[in-house]
Symmetry: C2
Subunit: 212 residues, 2 copies
């Protein structure tokens, strides 16, 4: 099953705004990025809520959840911290007691520690993208591996030739600065395989032939 | 009539690759950006050719040409040069004896010179975006002003609140470096108004409310 990434990016190419803090991990203006998702049925269900709109955007999230057997994410996406865990103000991460993943999550970190169980989600801490990816593939069974972010983890997945599919949710806003999804030096061969849009967001899906 | 920009951008956000030269003004790999257009009927007609595919991509180019009454472009898009014209190895520009514009073109430069007539196109050289934009508006009559590029001219148009519409042709490729369409600091309020795609390219159209 494919390894895929799906991530929301501003029109000017950022996945987080400037000056992220523990209170505003997505930086200035960064929370606007995900506004397209908050009101959707699939998003609410994943986060333990009810109701919400059931439209093409929601079905796309639903399909991504259904095909995800394991997740790989960067340390900053997990907790916002870096360095030794003793110095991390948020060592349990900010995904709460019932994280929306409900599959094994592999967190990239140079500071390996014991796994952390939160609700139906187990976070395992792994040093290096390749090792995390192998563990995630094994854990995912016949479902796919979702490289959830942030930008650095996705860049590593691309550089490793691990990604089969890249799905960008292009949000109609400018952040004017922050963390770019693609740094200089990103390289991959891609083909546009699908476009879905609503007034709130354009979803562009690419197959990736990075191994070629 | 609206002031619009339409420009092709790589998936990683560049409008030209690294190390542009006179022979390769779009930098390393940059010519791939426009491959989606070369075989299209509307593109061929504009460049004095015949035949070509008449599909949704072609009709979009055709519509852009039809609504363009005047063009604003940066000096580098005109000739690749900078500084005094006496030092420009390409002072007549690289648009040939019959440029595809066939409407008044206003070239942004600090080095004003006499207008240059090439076929049905007159290039007028103007110091400063605001001045060029006013002249272009007057020249366009009841048609629109097309801010053709490059990145810097589009950033100036956005910053000046001059753009009403932003149309990006997202080409399915990575350039890995070069000239970014949006530098840090770009700001505008936008709404997604249209999405058209083919296997070769995704066209995203936004209305811009930069003046708001």
């Amino acid at each position: 099953m494919p390894c895929f990434c799906d991530i929301t990016v501003s029109l000017d190419g950022y996945v987080a705004g400037p000056a992220p803090t523990l209170e505003h991990p997505l930086g200035e203006g960064g929370e606007q990025l995900h506004e397209w998702a908050y009101g959707l049925k699939a998003f609410r269900e994943a986060h333990g809520g009810e109701g919400g709109e059931d439209n093409a955007d929601s079905r796309l999230i639903e399909a991504n959840i259904a095909r995800t057997g394991a997740v790989v994410m960067g340390r900053r996406m997990f907790s916002g911290g870096e360095g030794p865990w003793a110095d991390d103000p948020n060592p349990d991460g900010w995904w709460g007691d019932e994280p929306p993943f409900r599959v094994p999550v592999f967190v990239l970190t140079h500071h390996v520690r014991e796994p952390l169980v939160k609700g139906e989600t187990t976070f395992t801490f792994v040093n290096g993208f390749d090792a995390a990816f192998e563990l995630a593939r094994a854990a995912a069974g016949d479902r796919g591996v979702h490289v959830a972010g942030g930008a650095e983890a996705i860049q590593q997945a691309l550089a490793a030739g691990a990604l089969d599919e890249l799905q960008l949710h292009v949000a109609p806003l400018f952040l004017g600065g922050g963390t770019r999804l693609f740094a200089d030096g990103a390289q991959a061969k891609v083909e546009l395989t699908g476009v879905v849009s609503s007034p709130a967001v354009a979803h562009l899906t690419y197959s990736v032939n990075a191994r070629a």
